[in-house]
């Protein structure tokens, strides 16, 4: 379980994350939504120890993140940032192999190879496993990065806007994979999403943030409501049930 207690992050005098507390349930998909600058990505980076916090605690299975041994934590929690420009020329398989580093420290065993195979299979990348990343489209690249995270085989998976720059088909594909990871393998997944509809359709819990504060958190159907969304996004959003999905109409 991930427990966030009173976490604050200051840039100068402005708090980008302002006394945020929450508990992220196990085995579910939790989405962070909110307008630009709400502190979603910063909060995710704090939880994953990429950014140091100024106040508060982040407990993962009862242990404070910044005090935990890095190597041990890498077997428990993985993070994928939104900008993943890698300077090195890697094939898909080489990239996915890096996901095994916390276990193998660079020397791959048979078990590692098997995990890499199954991660590649899970993301349906078999046909392009020997292609270089710079030969792939944005969607394929994103799948390769997610395959790396799957190979890392952690209980908690944090993704920062995994749908950035992806078309509808690839976005849906990735959300479905995340759903499967949660349902079949019991992974706890936390994602930052910009599109409320993806959050509404695919996540179990939603945390709505604005100006570094949690506006409201709870099961999806409690958040996807006109009143809550108005408070978060500052606009009137019509919500309709289509095929048992709550769809927000925010285009007009």
């Amino acid at each position: 379980m991930v427990k966030i207690k009173d976490v604050t992050k200051l840039y100068g005098d402005t708090a980008v994350v302002d006394h945020v507390s929450m508990t992220i349930p196990k085995g579910k998909i939790t989405s962070f939504i909110g307008p630009n600058g709400a502190g979603k990505s910063t909060l995710l980076s704090i939880v994953s120890r990429l950014i140091a916090k100024d106040e508060g605690e982040v407990l993962i299975d009862g242990e404070e993140v910044s005090a935990t041994n890095n190597k041990a934590l890498a077997k428990k929690l993985s993070i994928l940032k939104q900008a993943n420009d890698i300077n090195v020329r890697l094939t898909v398989r080489q990239l996915v192999s890096f996901g095994r580093f916390p276990y193998s420290q660079g020397r791959l065993t048979d078990i590692d190879e098997k995990m890499i195979d199954s991660a590649i299979h899970y993301m349906e990348l078999e046909t392009m496993e020997n292609k270089f990343l710079d030969q792939l489209s944005g969607g394929q690249k994103q799948r390769a990065y997610i395959a790396m995270v799957i190979a890392q085989d952690t209980e908690y998976i944090l993704l920062d806007e995994p749908l950035n720059n992806l078309d509808m088909k690839h976005s849906v594909q990735i959300m479905k994979v995340l759903r499967r990871l949660a349902d079949e393998l019991g992974k706890t997944i936390v994602i930052v999403l910009h599109d409320v509809n993806f959050a509404s359709v695919y996540s179990d819990y939603i945390v709505a943030l604005r100006d570094g504060k949690v506006i409201k958190k709870g099961p999806t159907d409690e958040i996807i409501r006109n009143g809550v969304l108005k408070e978060v996004y500052d606009m009137d959003i019509k919500i309709q049930d289509i095929d048992q999905c709550r769809i927000c109409l925010y285009f007009s």
Partner: protein, 315 residues
């Protein structure tokens, strides 16, 4: 060609370059000549290897293939130390004439400077680019100070200073060479503990942290290693600016891999071939009319411009 064949070819190339250097034109008192050449070749090979390794680590940490470790300002500090000694104590003083004193003074000051710089900067978060910026500013400051002193001193003394501003393998002292090798071996043994992290570090900070690398600690230790290696190489032969960039980039082009176990070994060979081959040409073709570092800086500078113009971001 597989990496193994390429490595083998490079190893053979290095051996050929070294034997050419050692045995071509061996006439007269061959024992004496061979002994002198042997010292020089070891000095050349060791500095070449050390600079190449330091550069590759530095570029991996900074994720940038057109940076060189001289950005921390060590070269400029070395020049300042040399100028300072001659400015205040004259070219006949002990610290100017006694190479051992000079050697340890230079190494000591360079390492102390690097450690203070790292300590100050790593305390307040770990921004590697901020460190480079400060290093650059210090480097410029040291250079201006040296120039200032050089303008004031006696022209004869200035010639001696100028001589030390360029790397030269022609008068390396044997005992200093062995001491340097000692320091280098210890440093490289220490480096072995971190080599497994280098591949992961080349993915960038967030991936490295995600994969369980204790980023701040590892980068700090690696920077200290780079500083020690550069300090020893510089104090031994003088500053060579572009050698590292040149040989490391040639290695990247040849091997196109991210595996540092291959890259480090390969770049050592490339560096030895470039330096030994270059020195051979200078000795026999140009009859010592120029120094190797002038040639290396010329070729390296041109290649550096080419790299910038090409704006090649993927490697």
């Amino acid at each position: 060609m597989s990496h193994k064949t390429k490595l083998m070819l490079l190893a053979i190339g290095s051996v050929v370059a070294i034997s050419l250097f050692l045995f071509v034109g061996l006439t007269g008192n061959w024992q004496y000549i061979l002994e002198r050449r042997f010292t020089r070749i070891i000095a050349i090979a060791v500095t070449g290897a050390v600079i190449a390794i330091a550069t590759i680590i530095f570029q991996t940490i900074t994720n940038n293939r057109i940076l060189t470790p001289s950005l921390i300002g060590l070269d400029a500090l070395y020049q300042l130390i040399q100028t300072f000694i001659i400015f205040f104590y004259g070219s006949t003083s002990l610290s100017a004439t006694n190479q051992t004193v000079n050697f340890f003074l230079s190494i000591g000051l360079m390492i102390v400077f690097a450690l203070i710089l790292f300590k100050l900067l790593f305390k307040r978060g770990n921004n590697i680019y901020f460190l480079l910026l400060i290093g650059l500013i210090f480097g410029t400051f040291f250079q201006s100070l040296s120039t200032f002193m050089q303008v004031l001193i006696d022209p004869n003394e200035f010639l001696i200073v100028q001589n030390r501003m360029f790397a030269s393998f022609n008068n390396v002292q044997t005992d200093l060479l062995y001491m340097s090798i000692g320091i280098i071996v210890v440093t490289l043994l220490y480096l072995l503990r971190f080599t497994k992290y280098l591949d992961v570090l080349s993915l960038g900070k967030s991936h490295a942290v995600n994969l369980g690398v204790d980023y701040n600690r590892v980068v700090q230790q690696l920077m200290v290693i780079v500083a020690i290696l550069m300090a020893v190489a510089t104090a031994l032969v003088g500053p060579i600016m572009f050698l590292g960039i040149l040989v490391v980039n040639v290695t990247y082009e040849m091997f196109k891999t991210y595996k540092h176990s291959v890259l480090i070994l390969a770049t050592v060979f490339v560096s030895i071939i470039a330096l030994v081959g270059g020195q051979f040409i200078i000795d026999r073709v140009f009859n010592f009319s120029t120094t190797l570092s002038v040639v290396i800086n010329l070729v390296g500078g041109v290649y550096f411009l080419y790299l910038i113009l090409k704006e090649n971001r993927t490697w």
